[in-house]
């Protein structure tokens, strides 16, 4: 259970960095001649902002543990409410894009590796190279131009207040998710395809694969049971290690498609110096990353019997 100390460490660093960062939520008040400096100071003191960092940290920590996440300086809404409103959207968009990425990377990478240097392999390699060389903010804009402006098929602003009901509601949601999911999924899929291909190529020339063939097993079974199964071990590691990058990429993508997820919440909070929101959102990101690492460890132990947890 390394996860809890990790989270504590992350929260200390986050809190300190944010406390040391320049910028002050009362900056705007300072330029407002109608509010005298004494009132501003009083406001600061009432919010506990003049206390030393460590006192503020512990106060934050205990409040956090009690489920009291504070409220936004800007919108005066409780932070947990703000996050809960937006987290499902982010998880759905990121989740579907990662499933899409795996659905592309696994079969395509395995097929390419079982036919190395064939035409198929070369086409895959080229496309994968193009795919992960193009940043999401570029492909995102390209997609918007193509599908929304030229063809007019898909909306390019994500709308959470869809009034339609029943099937229509689902359809609208799917339609507006297609582009962000595609952009994120294709980017990750391209990177993972190359990785799956090389992981499979590493396993396919090992002795135990020859043993499996010598047993008289059909080629398909040799590939799925004795090649892909073993090649998944490094793939799981990579997928888990890339989770922070995925969330980082999602922030950019959410911004482009105006997806009201926690990524765009974070950006607007940073721009407004809204410390409680920044703190909470980054902390939620940290929790998600650690959760995925934990998940990877569990899958890892299941895939590779040489690793055991006692």
């Amino acid at each position: 259970m390394i996860a809890i100390p990790s989270l504590l460490g992350i929260s200390v660093i986050l809190f300190t960095v944010l406390a040391l960062a320049p910028g002050d939520p009362f900056e705007e008040l300072a330029t407002n001649p109608a509010i005298p400096p004494e009132v501003r100071m009083q406001l600061r003191a009432s919010l506990g902002m003049d206390d030393p960092i460590y006192i503020r940290y512990f106060r934050w920590l205990f409040a956090m543990l009690q489920g009291e996440w504070g409220f936004s300086f800007v919108s005066r809404i409780n932070v947990d409410q703000l996050i809960l409103q937006r987290l499902p959207t982010t998880l759905i968009v990121i989740g579907s894009s990662q499933i899409l990425a795996l659905a592309i990377a696994l079969p395509v990478g395995v097929l390419a590796a079982t036919r190395p240097y064939s035409i198929f392999d070369q086409v895959v390699n080229t496309l994968a190279f193009v795919g992960f060389s193009l940043p999401t903010f570029f492909t995102g804009l390209l997609f918007i131009m193509f599908f929304s402006i030229w063809l007019g098929w898909l909306p390019f602003v994500y709308n959470t207040n869809i009034t339609a009901t029943g099937w229509q509601w689902w359809w609208e949601h799917i339609r507006q998710s297609i582009m962000p999911v595609l952009v994120l999924g294709l980017f990750q899929g391209a990177a993972w395809t190359r990785f799956v291909r090389s992981a499979v190529l590493d396993v396919i020339r090992l002795d135990h694969v020859t043993t499996a063939r010598a047993k008289g097993l059909p080629e398909g079974r040799v590939t799925t049971r004795h090649v892909v199964r073993n090649a998944l071990i490094p793939v799981v590691t990579l997928v888990a290690l890339q989770m922070p990058i995925v969330f980082g990429g999602a922030i950019v993508t959410e911004q482009i498609f105006r997806v009201p997820g926690i990524g765009s919440l974070l950006i607007s909070a940073i721009l407004a110096n809204d410390t409680p929101v920044i703190m909470a959102v980054t902390f939620v990101f940290a929790c998600l990353v650690i959760f995925f690492n934990l998940l990877a460890d569990i899958i890892y132990g299941w895939l590779d019997p040489r690793i055991s947890y006692r």
């Binding site: 043993t211 010598a214 073993n230 895939l303 590779d304 040489r306």
Partner: protein, 337 residues
């Protein structure tokens, strides 16, 4: 293993009947530098219930020959250029992949050189043995695991019922090689190919594995084709010996004849290069080695391939390649001497 199955598996083989007949086999590999003639016209016969040793230095084509019998070489870059491999009267060379799969493990089992890497690390050994018998004999999962435990007991692995559920990393090298042998024998094949099964093991373990192979052969009555580079292994196990050099057979004889009267200078050199513990302890003679190295298989020299390293080399040796001819009953050699 129950008594009835033991009996069924030890059906006495009709000794003397040809089981495997490799003739004129040529296996070439396409590389960037040109065609490597790894196996260049090899004839090897294995009778039912017989142990044949194939001896030679590294790179002489003995492993490629063994792997070709089960078509386990990568094709491409490898290709069978010529020759036939008759197994029970049927030629393996033109067989489809599906026909080959029916032969692998079921008819011909194989044990590889490296027990540390030949088993899949993510499955239990029981699973890996059961997978073979389930595939070939359609046994239920339970029956297949029972067979796996039986096989482990057969190869003298202690507490087999418990060990079937262990992973390969929980076994030592020698024990893993026993597992490999158990796996290769699990479908009661008629021929076992053992490709340097003891090379990667400690000397004491080597003897145990060879003993096990001999014991298995006697109990199950299969033929064994043992690939090795160690003359000591040959003397201990073989009935007949095939000596290979640079992709060709240079001598073939019964094991007694070969050691008593080696005809080919290469075989003589191999036998002289065996360390003699008894002599080494008393007299300080240097071990006799064969000078020079194996010729390139990319463009082998004209004439006898051993000529460059042979102490008896003559003009005639360099001019034309000597064919493999019978020098004495059952004793063939490819040398003009």
């Amino acid at each position: 293993m129950s008594a009835s199955t033991t009996e069924a598996r030890t059906a006495p083989a009709a000794v003397g009947q040809r089981l495997l007949e490799i003739s004129g086999l040529k296996v070439h590999f396409r590389t960037d530098d040109g065609m490597v003639r790894a196996v260049d016209g090899v004839d090897i016969g294995v009778d039912r219930g017989e142990t044949v040793c194939v001896v030679g230095e590294s790179g002489c084509g003995k492993t490629v020959t063994a792997m070709t019998v089960l078509k386990l070489i990568a094709m491409p870059p490898g290709q069978i250029v010529a020759g036939s491999i008759m197994f029970e009267g049927r030629d393996i060379v033109p067989m489809t992949p599906a026909q080959m799969r029916a032969i692998r493990s079921k008819q011909i089992g194989i044990v590889f050189q490296e027990p540390m890497t030949s088993l899949n690390p993510v499955y239990t050994v029981g699973h890996q043995i059961a997978e073979t018998v389930r595939h070939h004999e359609g046994l239920s999962k339970k029956a297949a695991y029972e067979r796996a435990a039986d096989m482990l007991r057969l190869v003298n692995i202690p507490s087999p019922q418990r060990r079937v559920h262990d992973y390969p990393h929980q076994f030592s090298g020698g024990m893993r090689q026993r597992v490999m042998i158990a796996m290769a024998l699990s479908c009661n094949p008629k021929l076992l190919i053992a490709d340097e099964p003891t090379t990667a093991l400690d000397v004491t373990i080597q003897a145990q594995i060879l003993e096990l192979l001999t014991e298995m052969k006697e109990r199950l009555g299969m033929a064994v084709m043992l690939i090795t580079h160690a003359m000591g292994v040959v003397a201990e196990t073989a009935q007949r010996v095939v000596v290979m050099y640079a992709g060709k057979v240079v001598e073939e004889a019964r094991v007694e004849d070969l050691f008593a009267n080696p005809r080919h200078p290469y075989t003589q050199g191999l036998i002289r290069s065996i360390p003699r513990i008894d002599l080494a302890a008393t007299t300080h003679t240097r071990l006799e080695a064969i000078p020079g190295t194996v010729p390139s298989l990319l463009n082998p020299p004209k004439g006898c391939r051993f000529a460059a390293r042979c102490r008896y080399v003559t003009e005639a040796c360099l001019a034309a390649e000597p064919p493999l001819v019978e020098k004495a009953p059952g004793h063939k050699a490819a040398c003009i001497l």
